[in-house]
């Protein structure tokens, strides 16, 4: 049986596979090939989507989407041999749109909803991209690097006067 790294490189063109530490393999894929990659990996047994995250690489002008996949293993099987995969793809900061992965992984739904709220990434085809956590509309999605939370607090909360009796 060939290793998962070999399988991925064999099945997809232009995909970067790199071991970043013991038990973690980074898979960099193109935005367009994301769904097919995820589908392929799910069929390979990586059916546990642990996390969908996003890193704001502001200097490079991209959002880096991070999907962490692992296997549901049981007694005796050790994960180090069956490493977790960190699947990455990039979207431009200026036009952050991506197709939703809810159809592949049901778990992705709240994660994508959160990323939509916190980074302003639009997931096309997502069933409900409604606000999840925030009560107030913030002009800039707050998890972006250029959102300065201290300044925001200063301007929005500290400016409210205390109540004088």
């Amino acid at each position: 049986m060939s290793s998962i790294e070999e399988k991925i490189t064999a099945n997809f063109d232009g995909i970067e596979v790199r071991k970043i530490e013991e038990g973690r393999i980074e898979v960099k894929t193109k935005k367009e090939a994301l769904l097919s990659t995820l589908n392929f990996l799910k069929d390979e047994g990586y059916g546990h989507l642990g996390l969908v995250s996003c890193v704001d690489r502001i200097e490079e002008g991209i959002f880096e989407l991070v999907y962490i996949l692992s296997r549901y293993l049981v007694g005796g099987e050790v994960a180090v041999d069956q490493a977790s995969l960190i699947v990455k793809t990039e979207v431009p900061r200026g036009n952050p749109t991506l197709v939703t992965s809810v159809k592949v992984f049901e778990t992705a739904e709240p994660y994508e909803r959160e990323l939509h709220e916190m980074f302003g990434i639009v997931f096309s085809g997502h069933p409900r991209l409604t606000p999840l956590f925030l009560e107030r509309d913030i002009d800039l999605p707050p998890m972006r690097k250029d959102f300065d939370t201290r300044k925001y607090v200063e301007e929005e909360f500290e400016s409210i006067p205390p109540v004088e009796d």
Binding site: G50, S53, I68, S70, G75, V78
Partner: protein
């Protein structure tokens, strides 16, 4: 029975919208579920989180590696220990810090105590939603005894800030082992009472069996971990699958149940507690001497090399993960917690609630161990 079924047939076709929480006696934590009910049955449930959103991950980007320690444990107030551990491990991975063996053992002892405390809290919460404060009160009393141990060990009752990169923050105080064992024995003496009054209580069986069933496939599809998965018979535990600390050096079992309902989940929790107590005794038996802490670099100058890591471990509620990226600076570049309650509370809960009685809202929610602070972060 007939009256109920009549009601179901047509008596009350009106769909009511109920807000379960955030201000609600059956709600544990600041969370809200919007229930669409017809009569006593839930037609549709929508989780409505965010009441505890503090923007942790944003705050972490603004604080140095060390300054984040008091912060991360506050992600989840119910079991801060696992949060400290996951962040410490991630930082250690990135910075290449090693932990001395005694430090690892003490960490595991502390984590197992946290797990028991957390499960006892869960037991309180669960029995409370069933309107059964008696056992809840006992569990809370016993949890308080463990908090006393934490206080002695770490100086804090709840937010311990004990696990640090490089080990633990202080060594065990004099006589801690004996006192821990005393407390565990004291709790152990009451296990027959717990069993008789709660776990073998006929009405608990009536209430919990067949309620909130999450099948194995469903759980696996929706990111379920921890008891949710183990209650379906799958022996999935990060401590076994990807051992951290010294869990591979001692001998312990993963308790499971078959049915996937609230009853199974609570029984898995019960068995886990007992397993944890045994594990603590075993850990104490093997506890080596030596240092507990490798000094970390000066906090004001600590730059962690560029890189990223994903760490996961088994918290009392399921798989807890942390994706941590560093850009080589003094602060994390990005941190994202994968908290077990996130899929449990936002995906599985919505599915599990549909079709159940509103009496069981809290029942199902707590049996999934949905804790609001770690969903919202």
């Amino acid at each position: 029975m007939e009256i109920i079924s009549e009601k179901k047939k047509g008596g009350s076709s009106r769909e009511l919208e109920l807000y379960f929480g955030p201000q609600h006696l059956g709600m544990i934590g600041n969370f809200s579920i919007t229930l669409n009910v017809r009569g006593d049955r839930i037609v549709r449930a929508e989780a409505n989180p965010g009441y505890l959103h503090r923007g942790f991950e944003k705050l972490m980007e603004g604080r140095s590696w060390i300054q984040n320690f008091p912060l991360v444990c506050r992600v989840n107030v119910i079991e801060p220990g696992s949060m400290e551990m996951v962040y410490s491990t991630a930082v250690e991975n990135l910075a290449g810090v090693k932990v001395p063996p005694r430090g690892k053992y003490i960490r595991c002892i502390y984590l197992e105590l946290s797990r028991i405390a957390s499960h006892l809290f869960g037991l309180w919460a669960y029995s409370k939603t069933l309107g059964f404060e008696t056992v809840g009160g006992w569990a809370m009393y016993h949890r308080d005894l463990i908090l006393d141990l934490f206080e002695e060990l770490t100086g804090g009752r709840v937010y311990n800030i004990y696990i640090w990169p490089g080990g633990v923050r202080r060594d065990l105080p004099e006589g801690f082992e004996e006192r821990t064992k005393d407390v565990l024995h004291e709790i152990g003496e009451k296990v027959p009472d717990y069993n008789q009054t709660f776990f073998e209580n006929r009405l608990f069986h009536e209430r919990a069996r067949g309620v909130g069933v999450v099948s194995r496939e469903e759980a696996m599809n929706t990111g379920g971990t921890g008891q949710v998965l183990r209650a379906t018979g799958l022996e999935y535990d990060i401590r076994k699958v990807e051992p951290y600390g010294v869990y591979d050096e001692i001998d312990w079992d993963v308790p499971t149940r078959e049915d996937g309902d609230a009853y199974s989940r609570i029984m898995v929790v019960r068995d886990e507690m007992i397993e944890s107590v045994h594990a603590i005794f075993k850990l104490f038996d093997k506890l080596p001497g030596g240092p507990v802490y490798n000094k970390i670099p000066n906090p004001f100058k600590w730059n962690i090399p560029e890189g990223e890591t994903y760490v996961r471990l088994e918290s009392s509620r399921g798989e807890l993960g942390l994706y941590l990226a560093s850009d080589g600076g003094r602060k994390p570049y990005r941190a994202h917690f994968r908290t077990p309650s996130y899929p449990h509370g936002l995906t599985i809960l919505e599915k599990a609630l549909a079709g159940e009685s509103i009496s069981d809202t809290g029942n199902i929610m707590i049996s999934l161990y949905v804790t609001a602070p770690e969903i919202d972060r």
